[in-house]
Subunit: 481 residues, 2 copies
């Protein structure tokens, strides 16, 4: 077979596959499988033109290309995986990535740094795969000599020369070091649910053909059977803190003296205000999550806390039911979007724990998924903590009688009526189910790096002061003051 | 009256107003009036604590605080007003701004730079006000001596000293220069729909009281009567280009020879590819909007164009019906979000022109608003162009018979059936209304800085080549090559 007709046949097959991908977009959308197509490779390995081939026939409503350069300031002030969470695809759509979360690992200073990054990466990919995401990772492979040839060609072309910067030449000079690291990393990040495809790309046509085939096969299989599932998690051995059962919590603590309360409030506010300033200066991110029974006093506690804080350094993040955008993605997506930057405080009014409470009890999420959430949440909070964040969680606890009393008060007070809805009454009917779910949540997600605090809330004054004190203590511990 | 009881009365009134603001949140939400509370002032003028007072009793679901520091890289690579567009409030909610779009103007090098910024600012505020937004702007005013006193006090406090940087001291040394510029700017940006309130804030209590009163009065009035409306626009004298009526367009041009088409396509692709590289290098942003009759070939034209482009340097932005998030804001908000950064190309598959086509014809927007859109759109595109963007718009034109033919072909081709819907047939019935609307749009929005190109689309090959050529010519003109 002569080479010209060979080439022509290749070209025809490529075109055919490109059109096939187009026809797969509709069934993919219906299947609801989100797809990540990730392209890595040395400089001049052909990522850009490969992506152009992949998308060439696609309907642009079905995919989005993301190019990751060096991290922006916003990204540098958050866990390194943060910016990639922003761009995960919605169900049935594709994210096409030019460079990715592997960049940092491929250019790590040494294997130990690479390993540290791999911890985050492997958790991230597993979480997406557990959620049904198809992850196809391509490393476009060329030789050192071929890279040199391509760089020289680019450098000799007026319009392209600027693309070849010193870092590309450096890569060519230090080829072997990088090569070793790439092998080290790819070998440790190729589980069945997110396998690496090392694609020889010296000959771009055959490289393209291989990539297109892998994508076609992956998508066809995912449409029929779903994306490959991860193996069950190994027991991670989270450093869990012992928590009491809710029914064993003594709810009698109270502050009955108004002057004592005012004095305490003032004292704690002053201390917190100073600490906030230090937190800001030391660029420590702080994540505080507030959960609790309806009418337990979350809002009031958050408000008192916020009075001690500089409004330029904190945000209250109210969590309501998810938007359609959020529903179409991994449930942690919307919380990752709200992660505070270093030095800032986020007060979550309700949080990611909805997953194992309302979503569990109302049957909004199947057990197979919410039962994974304890690990997923610990992983999430661990990631924040590892980045240096203070993570503290508060369960505002009251008994059923107190709730009833407050519901009735709300109903009979005109300006509070909007705070009580039929849903609150329906939730109240499910008190025993909630109690069980909350107990399980407290047992499984109170960790040394992200502890739960049960706040005795029958007495509002006592509860508010206790929240202030616990936050103050956590900040003091972190700052070592 | 003694000063202690004076103070106490002030404090009580402040608390009362804070609670009143809380009770206004519900009716504000129902009224659908978006509110911007903007705080400016010299260093240490008390913006942070003022904002803390304003939000202290508010339900956090009803507002968001934004603090603007120096612009991020993402912001610096776009028109300066871009980052403020991101944060405009949804209807019925409040954005509370610590610093704002006035920062740049207050620290401009001279009056001519300030004037240039004011052009953008005044357009921005008018557009928001035309959309019903209440804009309350506060300048917290202190004397030079008071600033010095406060800075010295901060600098003497271990926990706060880091807040006082060299720029604050510089401001104090160069007080008069800044003062003059602030006066120059505020005098030129105080129309009835976005008046400045210069609030003496040497005594923080009385300052707070004044601010709270203005906010309360503003919101109460907006709930009852809507936010203050801008005066009608002065005739701006846009540099309009003469456009033919659609019915006068000769649709006969065609490329009948397949080889000629292939050769042209190849030639134009090659040229465009080079130009894209230069555009990237020169950091020129490019905005291309595609509109046209259903089945006129927008998708095909965009695809051919994208084949010539490096996927890392462009995005196709498909515009569908607005999300609830977008519907709750000024209609240009979602387009501002998609503005390409310098050096990138955005291909809009449909665009902001939906405002004067589908929204007009389907009655989705009242005439009072869509009729303003011609000016608003010219202002929008002028802002992009002034920032250095290439802005080109394409109307893909076919006649009614050709559309019918293509609709029927779609219906009879299985893999194209999803591209034809009942809505397409309904739109077709409204051809005369659309033709009238499109003619008006072309007459009123084809400007020297953002021209429309009518693409004769009865012959697809001709149309595709013409789009490539027009884009190529526009880029050449901009690059001067």
């Amino acid at each position: 077979m002569d080479s010209a007709s060979d080439k022509k046949a290749l070209k025809k097959e490529i075109k055919h596959l490109q059109k096939e991908l187009l026809t797969l977009q509709e069934p993919l959308k219906r299947s609801g499988v989100p797809v990540i197509l990730l392209f890595e490779g040395a400089s001049a390995s052909g990522k850009g033109s490969m992506i152009a081939e992949v998308i060439s026939e696609l309907d642009p409503r079905g995919y989005q290309v993301y190019t990751y350069g060096s991290a922006s300031e916003e990204a540098r002030r958050r866990p390194f995986i943060w910016r990639y969470w922003q761009d995960i695809p919605a169900r049935g759509l594709m994210s096409v990535l030019d460079h990715s979360w592997y960049d940092a690992a491929f250019s790590a200073a040494d294997e130990s740094e690479a390993r540290r990054l791999l911890d985050s990466i492997n958790v991230f990919e597993r979480q997406l795969a557990d959620d049904g995401c198809l992850i196809l990772k391509f490393y476009l492979d060329i030789s050192r000599a071929e890279q040199k040839r391509r760089l020289e060609k680019l450098a000799g072309d007026d319009a392209e020369a600027w693309r070849v910067d010193e870092s590309a030449w450096k890569q060519n000079r230090e080829w072997d070091e990088r090569r070793e690291l790439v092998e080290y990393v790819t070998e440790r990040s190729s589980p069945q649910h997110a396998r690496w495809h090392i694609v020889p790309n010296e000959d771009k046509r055959s490289g393209t053909l291989e990539v297109l085939r892998v994508i076609r096969d992956g998508i066809v299989s995912a449409i029929d059977h779903g994306a490959p599932k991860p193996l069950p998690r190994e027991q991670r051995g989270w450093p869990l803190l012992e928590m009491p059962r809710l029914r064993d919590v003594d709810l009698s603590p109270a502050i009955t003296d108004k002057d004592e309360y005012d004095a305490e409030l003032k004292k704690e506010k002053k201390k917190l205000s100073k600490l906030h300033s230090l937190i800001y200066r030391e660029k420590i991110p702080v994540v505080l999550a507030f959960e609790g029974w309806d009418a337990a006093g979350k809002g009031g506690a958050i408000r008192r806390l916020s009075w001690a804080l500089d409004p330029r350094g904190f945000d209250v993040v109210p969590i309501a039911s998810p938007s359609p955008e959020a529903l179409a993605r991994h449930y942690l997506w919307r919380f990752w979007r709200e992660i505070p930057r270093d030095g800032h405080i986020a007060l979550f009014d309700r949080s990611w724990y909805g997953r194992v409470m309302v979503e569990r009890i109302e049957g909004l999420t199947p057990e197979s998924r919410w039962s994974q959430a304890y690990d997923e949440i610990n992983e999430f909070e661990y990631e924040l903590s590892r980045h240096g964040a203070v993570v503290e969680k508060f369960w505002l606890h009251i008994d059923s009688d107190t709730q009833l009393e407050r519901f009735r008060l709300r109903e009979s007070t005109p300006e509070k009526q909007h705070k009580i809805t039929d849903e609150d009454w329906r939730n109240r009917d499910k008190w025993p189910q909630y109690e069980k779910a909350v107990d399980e949540m407290l047992q499984k997600t109170s960790t040394e790096f992200a502890p739960w605090h049960i706040i005795e809330g029958n007495d509002k004054k006592y509860a508010r002061i206790k929240v202030l004190k616990e936050v103050r203590k956590a900040l003091e511990a972190r700052l070592g003051v």
